[in-house]
């Protein structure tokens, strides 16, 4: 009689041996076919840890939320994030290194995330010199672990605070079905990262459109700027079947004004007192000269994607069509806006209403 051996399932395709990459990254590395609607140099490669259990957090707006309904396969933030072998990915990075500008590993909340991020970072750093960032999962970290990231070659740290007030954070990320993320922990990681990585080597993601006011955003922009920490703007884009699937996106006018305000604060040294708000916290007046603001708008930089820079300070992580569809108006531009783009931006800003 022949003994029956147990039938084993296929090995799980999980980190550190597998990662997901953004579709744009897959195109840049010729791992997926495709192109962008407008031609531009693209070299910002985004990796995402992958586990069968997914992310153990349960944020109301997120495509990876633990209690989100339905199986989306390779889909995350509306589009495909191909699952690839880490070894093959690193080979492709080395092959295309001359056009890469920035690499980023996004952690998720998972028990193996820290160890796997270290493993993947070492594999990349051994082959590729392109600066590497980590978008960290604060619940998995402490100061020692951040120091280890620095020691193994990580250049910048990003913290996805997303909800910019404690009340909002609690309602969307803490007091949720399977949540438990702590506002204090996020800020502890911000502070530790700033101390370990230095000025302008840490960024905090601020998501526009979760229910915060303009005043909330401008207060956090100035708070972070004063600590030499970048604010990276992201535009809320409702994720199907998330708990915030029916929450509306910010109107373009508001988004443009927030982009401009963030740039004025971070790059031009504007103070919170130069922005006036109504009783609801909406921006109603900007205390600045029209000519100075027009000059900033015309540069276009304020409206480009916020992301970690390349080695020479050039745009590094540009996430094309990251928070809007290709058929929708640009929210952030992955390249310097052209003259026709600037005409649209100026019309969207309606600056006459807040200047003078």
């Amino acid at each position: 009689m022949t003994a029956l051996l147990p039938v084993l399932g296929s090995p799980a395709k999980i980190s550190p041996d597998y990662v997901r990459i953004s579709y744009a990254s897959a195109v840049a590395l010729a791992m997926k076919s495709g192109r962008f609607s407008r031609e531009f140099d693209f070299g910002g490669i985004n990796l995402l840890l992958n586990y069968d259990e997914g992310c153990l957090s349960d944020c109301g707006y997120c495509g990876l939320a633990r209690t989100r309904q339905a199986d989306y396969g390779d889909q995350f933030i509306r589009v495909e994030w191909p699952l690839v072998r880490t070894g093959e990915l690193v080979d492709r990075m080395a092959e295309h290194e001359d056009k890469l500008t920035r690499l980023c590993i996004s952690m998720v909340t998972h028990g193996h995330a820290y160890a796997d991020t270290c493993d993947i970072t070492k594999r990349i750093a051994a082959r590729v010199k392109t600066p590497l960032s980590i978008l960290v999962a604060p619940p998995t970290l402490n100061r020692h672990r951040l120091e280890t990231f620095k020691a193994i070659g990580v250049d910048m740290i990003g913290i996805g605070l997303d909800a910019v007030t404690e009340q909002l954070f609690r309602s969307i990320r803490t007091d949720v079905p399977a949540g438990g993320l702590k506002w204090e922990k996020y800020w502890e990681v911000v502070t530790d990262s700033r101390e370990i990585f230095g000025p302008w080597k840490v960024n905090v993601h601020t998501l526009v459109g979760l229910g915060e006011t303009d005043q909330d955003l401008i207060e956090i922009f100035t708070r972070l700027r004063d600590q030499q920490i970048f604010s990276y703007l992201f535009c809320f884009n409702p994720e199907p079947d998330s708990r915030m699937a029916s929450h509306p996106k910010s109107p373009l006018m508001r988004w443009r004004r927030i982009q401009l305000a963030k740039h004025l604060i971070e790059t031009e040294g504007y103070q919170a007192g130069q922005f006036d708000f109504d009783a609801d916290g909406s921006l109603v007046h900007l205390r600045a000269s029209r000519s100075a603001v027009d000059a900033v708008v015309s540069q276009g930089v304020a409206f480009m994607t916020n992301g970690c820079p390349g080695e020479q300070g050039e745009p590094g992580c540009t996430r094309p069509y990251g928070s809007y569809r290709p058929s929708e108006p640009f929210r952030d531009y992955p390249f310097p806006p052209a003259a026709t783009d600037l005409d649209q931006i100026k019309a969207q800003l309606r600056l006459d209403e807040v200047l003078g």
Binding site: M31, S33, S37, V79, P326
Partner: protein
């Protein structure tokens, strides 16, 4: 389409029983009288990236050669569907509009886009119809796309 009409050029299928508009990757297959079926070739589909949405016209819409009759949206790309001929839309492939993946899977058959009646049969003469010319053009475009990185390896 018969199997005899199908060729493979550098890894991509091409059907030689129809005419092509090289700049836009649209094909036109005459089906009798002035009737034609219009679709997109596999190279145009592949290099757009994973398709997300097709916007197609209503029957009765007038087509003008060289002008958009719809829109293709992929994950990171949006572009017009450009009519290779002038005429009038007779039918629209509702199955492809509902599932753009059909155009990726069966671009020469079930993934057609529209059926139309030509207003000027001479339009067909302006398209690529010679099998050798079609395969030469296709091979050159594939090489260009490989060089630019639009085709995965």
């Amino acid at each position: 389409m018969t199997d005899d009409a199908l060729r493979e050029v550098s890894g991509f299928a091409i059907a030689l029983d129809r005419a092509y508009a090289p700049a836009t990757h649209m094909w036109v297959r005459p089906t009798g009288d002035l009737h034609v079926t219009i679709g997109m070739d596999p190279l145009g589909v592949e290099t757009s990236g994973t398709l997300a949405q097709l916007s197609l016209p209503e029957p009765g819409q007038v087509l003008i050669a060289g002008q958009p009759f719809g829109q293709l949206e992929a994950v990171k790309f949006v572009g017009p569907l450009t009519s290779p001929v002038s005429g009038t839309v007779r039918a629209v492939n509702a199955a492809a509009a509902a599932d753009p993946g059909l155009v990726e899977r069966e671009p020469f058959t079930a993934g057609w886009l529209i059926k139309a009646i030509l207003s000027d049969p001479a339009d067909l003469g302006k398209l690529l119809t010679d099998p050798q010319a079609i395969t030469d053009w296709y091979a050159a475009r594939i090489a260009d796309y490989r060089l630019s990185g639009a085709i995965a390896r």
